[in-house]
Point group: C2
Chain length 194, copies 2
Amino acid sequence: MARRAETIELAVLGLLHEGPMHGYELRKRLNLMLGWGRVLSYGSLYPALKKMLRADLIKEAVATTTPVTRRPRIVYEVTAAGHSEFERLMSEVGPTAWEDDNFDIRFAFFGRTDMEIRLRVLEGRRTRLQERLARVQSDLERTQAEVNRYAEELQRHGVESVEREVRWLSELISAERGETSPEHQASTSTSTDQ
Amino acid sequence: MARRAETIELAVLGLLHEGPMHGYELRKRLNLMLGWGRVLSYGSLYPALKKMLRADLIKEAVATTTPVTRRPRIVYEVTAAGHSEFERLMSEVGPTAWEDDNFDIRFAFFGRTDMEIRLRVLEGRRTRLQERLARVQSDLERTQAEVNRYAEELQRHGVESVEREVRWLSELISAERGETSPEHQASTSTSTDQ
DNA sequence: GTTAGCATGTAAGGAGTTACATGATTTT
DNA sequence: AAAATCATGTAACTCCTTACATGCTAAC
C-alpha cells in the first residue's frame, strides 16, 4: 500500500481543477509533482479514473482544442460531487493528512485551503517527524547492537534528513503565521528551530 | 511493490550474520535500520522467514541463552547456502542495487563487500539521482503549467533534498577512493550501466 | 521510413498491510 | 492487577506493477 487509493483520487481532483485533462497528461503532471520516488503506472491510473467516473467524481468532456485530425482523447473534468470530495479530503486533519505519501500532494494544493488547516497539517507532520526522531534515538540507546561504520553513517544521514525536513516545516509554519498575505516568499532564511 | 522480496531476504541474511536472532528481534532491528518510511509488518516478515527456511537459506537453531522459564523462541541462523546468497546479492551491480529501496540495505552491509563493488554502487546511485534531477529540470522547462506557490515550494524542497543526497554520495565516493579531504570534487566519469 | 513519444487500456500476479488469534513475561 | 511489550503466526484484502495489446503522430 505505497499510496492509499485516496491519494491518487485527491491528486486527480486537484489537477483537474486547473482545467480538463486526459489520462496521459494527468500522469505526467503527477509524476512531475511527486516524482521523487515511484512513478505512477497506467495500470494504476486508468482504472482509478474509471472508478472515479463511476463514482461521479469526474466526467468525460469534449476536448475543445483537439484538431479534427487528432485522435479523440478522453478529457476529464471535475463534477460538483468531485469538487465537494476534494474539499472534504483537503480539510481532513489527522494522520491521513500528514503521513509520508499523503502529505506531499496535500501540500501541493495548499493554495486551496484555509490557513487554519494548513497550519494544523504542517504542525501535525512536524510532530510526526519529531516523534520518529525521538523513537530512533531511544531505540538506539537501548540497543547495544554492534553497528558497523556504514550502518552508522546511514543512520546519521537519515537523522539529518529528517531534521532538515523539520526545519523546513518550521520555516513554513512561521511564514504562515507571520504573514497574513498569501503573497509572501517561503524561502526566507528564518532559522527558527522547531 | 514497495520493496522487492529480495530486499527483505538480503536484510535478514545480513542481520543474521551478526548472530542468531528470532523474528521479533529481526523486525525491530530492520525497522531501526531503515525505519525512515514504512515499517515491516509481521504479516510480511514471518511468511518471508518461512519461505527462506524452505529455500534452505536459513535454519532454526536452539536459543542457547534462553532461560528455561522463557517461552521457547525460534531462533534463526544463516546456512551455507544463505551465506552464498548474501554474497551473490551483495555483489550485484546494476539498477537493482541502487534503486531507492534497495540501496539503503545494501549500503548498511557495505562492510562486507569489496571497495570495487561499493564504488560502483555509490556511483550508480549518484548517476541515477542526477538523471532524475535532469529529467525534472527538462520537464519543468517544457511544461508551462501554472504552478502555484506551494507546488513550487515542494518542488524546490525536493530538488534540494536530492542535490543534498548527491553531495553525500560524492563525499562517500571520495572517502572510498582514499581522498580524505572533506571537500568533494565534481570529477566523475563512470556511469556505465549494467 | 523509422524511431520516439502520444494515448488508452486490460489481465495476471506479487508484495505487503490490516485485522485477527493467542499467549507469555515484564514493568508500573 | 493492569498495561505494555514480548512473541508467533494466518487469512483476507488492497493496491499496484508488469507485461501485454493497440494504434496514432511528430520528428529525424
